[in-house]
């Protein structure tokens, strides 16, 4: 089956047992999905693992999938749910870990440190370091702002697609993206030149 087929055509073929069609769907979405999960979790291995798990779930739910919604939003929804579940697991682990018990004053380790306010600080940091700080800032966003901001500003999905993928109203999505960007702006003040 050629790659010019639409997502829904490939899914219909996969439903009929065409393994090659499912392979094409994976090839089409594996990179954006891995990138999205990487930005959500900040851990590449975990991102790859959850991206694979997303496709496994899609495979076993093929019979229930209807083409009323775009496949892109469907797979992002599965990936988002897996990512949120993983983030919550991490929080629980952190809560009960011994290191957390003796970690006085530092609070959440994933919390982003405020930027250095020195006037020439931005000039000192390299591009790599800047990228790393931006990534950390994104990863430190509260859960409810993180997914909309990543889907919009990194994955470049439309508001409609984000609304469908996250199962939230358009107004909520816009407001969360706006609030998320505002938090990022505060965190990345020194890099906004």
């Amino acid at each position: 089956m050629s790659s010019e087929y639409s997502d829904n055509e490939l899914i219909e073929a996969a439903k009929g047992g065409d393994e090659d069609a499912f392979g094409q769907i994976m090839t089409r979405y594996r990179d954006p999905l891995t990138n999205y999960l990487f930005r959500m979790l900040g851990d590449y291995e975990e991102a790859v693992d959850l991206a694979q798990e997303s496709f496994v779930r899609v495979y076993f739910a093929l019979g229930r999938y209807t083409t009323d919604f775009a496949f892109s939003t469907y797979i992002y929804r599965i990936a988002t749910n897996l990512a949120i579940s993983e983030i919550r697991k991490r929080k629980r682990r952190q809560l009960f870990s011994l290191t957390a018990m003796f970690d006085f004053g530092d609070g959440d380790k994933k919390d982003f440190e405020p930027a250095d306010s020195r006037p020439d600080a931005a000039e000192d940091v390299s591009a790599d370091e800047q990228s790393m700080m931006i990534a950390k800032a994104v990863a430190s966003l509260p859960e409810k702002y993180r997914a909309p901001v990543i889907l919009r500003d990194i994955q470049e999905l439309s508001y409609e697609e984000i609304s469908e993928a996250l199962g939230l109203g358009m107004g909520t999505i816009k407001s969360r993206i706006s609030r998320g960007r505002s938090i990022l702006r505060e965190k990345l003040e020194r890099y906004l030149k």
Binding site: M26, D31, Q52, D153, I154, R181, L188, L192
Partner: protein, 241 residues
């Protein structure tokens, strides 16, 4: 897919969107598809154990309920078939009684009926005939009078037929080989069950009543074979302990 606009802020600084766009895109590893296929195959293989782990509580509960229900059912059936009639001189063997009943049923079944109503005797006639033809063992053969079907303890109290039937509200005398009803209370168990004056009570719980039959007390439900002119009836009569 519509790409979001990335514009500078009003003060000329880069917007957060522009900063985020600078982030390098990561790609999936080359063996991504094959690993997904391997996971799909592994999930398929473990689907039966998953079913067990998901429903094990339900399955265990259902099995336990089935075992309890079976135990209760068996014990109730055993209790119902627990015959309490003993005959001082001639305790009949229950197995013989059943065998005789089977014989009659088989001989009836083997006969090709020409007229169903004539050639096929009704249930109570068959039972009566079976009871009449059943071999009888005397006390001399068995040594002692003992409860039949073996579950009633020997120490249980026994009463005579007259007293037993009197407890059911029936006054009887033994005439022409039958315990014949002379009077009965209408609101008694026997009256409610449909026994009438003049009926002959032939058997209780499948055991023919002789003049000197003794019946073990302490049983709630007694089934009587009642004979009246032109018909036989099998009646259930509940008698208090």
């Amino acid at each position: 897919m519509i790409k979001p606009e990335k514009s500078f802020n009003q003060d000329g600084t880069e917007s957060t969107e522009m900063l985020l766009a600078k982030l390098e895109k990561v790609s999936a590893p080359g063996d991504f598809n094959s690993k997904v296929r391997a996971r799909i195959a592994a999930t398929r293989e473990t689907s039966i154990p998953n079913f067990w782990s998901r429903y094990r509580v339900h399955i265990s509960t259902a099995a336990l309920t089935l075992v309890i229900a079976s135990t209760v059912f068996i014990s109730l059936r055993k209790e119902a078939s627990d015959v309490v009639v003993t005959t001082k001189d001639s305790p009949m063997q229950a197995s013989d009684d059943r065998a005789a009943l089977n014989q009659v049923t088989e001989s009836t079944a083997s006969t090709t009926p020409t007229n169903l109503s004539e050639s096929r005797p009704n249930r109570s006639t068959v039972q009566e005939e079976a009871l009449r033809n059943a071999p009888v063992t005397s006390a001399a053969d068995s040594g002692v009078a003992r409860p039949q079907f073996g579950t009633r303890p020997e120490s249980s109290e026994t009463v005579g037929v007259s007293e037993f039937l009197s407890n059911a509200g029936v006054e009887c005398v033994f005439e022409n080989g039958l315990w014949t009803v002379k009077s009965l209370k209408r609101d008694s168990a026997a009256g409610k069950a449909g026994i009438k004056v003049g009926d002959g009570i032939q058997a209780v719980e499948g055991m023919i009543l002789a003049k000197d039959t003794r019946i073990v007390t302490g049983q709630d439900l007694r089934i009587m074979l009642v004979k009246r002119p032109g018909e036989e009836k099998l009646l259930s009569v509940k008698i208090g302990k």
